[in-house]
Subunit: 226 residues, 2 copies
Amino acid sequence: MIKQSIKLTVDAVVFGYESDSKISVLLVKRRIAPYKGEWAIPGGFVKTSESLEEAVQRELKEETGVSISYLEQLYTFGESDRDPRERVVSVAYYGLIKPQDFDLNASTDAEEAEWFDIDELPELAFDHKRIIEVAINRLKGKVTYEPIGFELLDKEFPFSDLENLYVTLLGRPIDRRNFRKKMLSFGLLDELDKKSSTGRGRPANLFRFNSERYFSLKKEGFVFEI
Amino acid sequence: MIKQSIKLTVDAVVFGYESDSKISVLLVKRRIAPYKGEWAIPGGFVKTSESLEEAVQRELKEETGVSISYLEQLYTFGESDRDPRERVVSVAYYGLIKPQDFDLNASTDAEEAEWFDIDELPELAFDHKRIIEVAINRLKGKVTYEPIGFELLDKEFPFSDLENLYVTLLGRPIDRRNFRKKMLSFGLLDELDKKSSTGRGRPANLFRFNSERYFSLKKEGFVFEI
DNA sequence: TCAAAAGTGTTAGAGGTACACCCATGG
DNA sequence: CCATGGGTGTACCTCTAACACTTTTGA
């Protein structure tokens, strides 16, 4: 039959965000050649019997200790010179998590796992720089027409966190009043009877994203658009 | 090292369109097991030394005789039960061509190649029905924010062809006057000094899509949006 | 002269954008 | 009482959506 010697891997670009900060990406330091000791996005070979999503989740857990709620396929990178030793095709995913929900290095499989600001990435193994670039573009595009940004925020968040997240992602200032008006007009945010007390300034009301409501509206043809 | 027995294939959902008709998909009848004799989208195993795009173009040429101008990666299908015999992961692409530019069955590699209206698909091998569905959704979404529809039309086309294409793709009536106004406002269509003479009715002016202009506008941040 | 398709403007309403001041709290 | 961040309304303007008649040709 067919003689094919191509290896299949999965890789994951995991984004995190903390209030008043930049978007960051989760990287691991490689324990093995090639690119031993260099930083890379988590990932590894797919087992013959597991699905691609299972493979991503497993590798992530092994190498960084995190597990992901929002995970989406990004692109498949298959140039024949990606890996210096053999033909490796990688199905890349990207995911969003709340960094504060996890301790890194909770596992023993990775030498080191660390968050890097997307504007201050180190040298990266393979074509991982490009994969991250593609993921950033996808994320920046997608937040404008799907409410995935909430995956990066706490369950209950002050409105300013949401606003800062969008300013960071879109890379441009937005009008606070207009943004709030529009966001609230969707009816997807439940305003809670709680205040955040972050120190100085007037305490903010907390909100929660109502995802059941989003899915039911979506079925009726509603389109989120910011 | 790693022991992995996963085969990698590429598959292509090729769309075509002829004036006043439905969108169609190019299918081939399989010569070999599994699913021998059933209809499937063109595709096959990736050679160890070729890129994924090269593989798609090669398989398309071999099985149907067409070569594609607009080709884009769609999604990678990797469930472990896709193929009844072994683990096969398929990187699916979708492409757009003008059917009138090619004779089908120009090659000897496929038993049969034929266009099928997307609303009248036959039974399909593997999970190809699902792949086509994903491709249709992508196409329908993408025509609204990138001017890829022109890949389905002749170089020189009457405005009504464009309008009919969008009506077909969007699946809803559109206002002729508003549509023309908006399309022309982009400045991406060159009106030619020619008329089409399709038989009855007033002859239409022919237009041509100016792709150089599109790319230069795009660099400056212009966004096509219908 | 009739049938078929092409071509063309205006108006009302919705939605987007721009913009500045007061409020609640902690130090 | 001051510094810090939270919360709010209005007016203009642009873009969208709705809508129908005339023109050119072939039969």
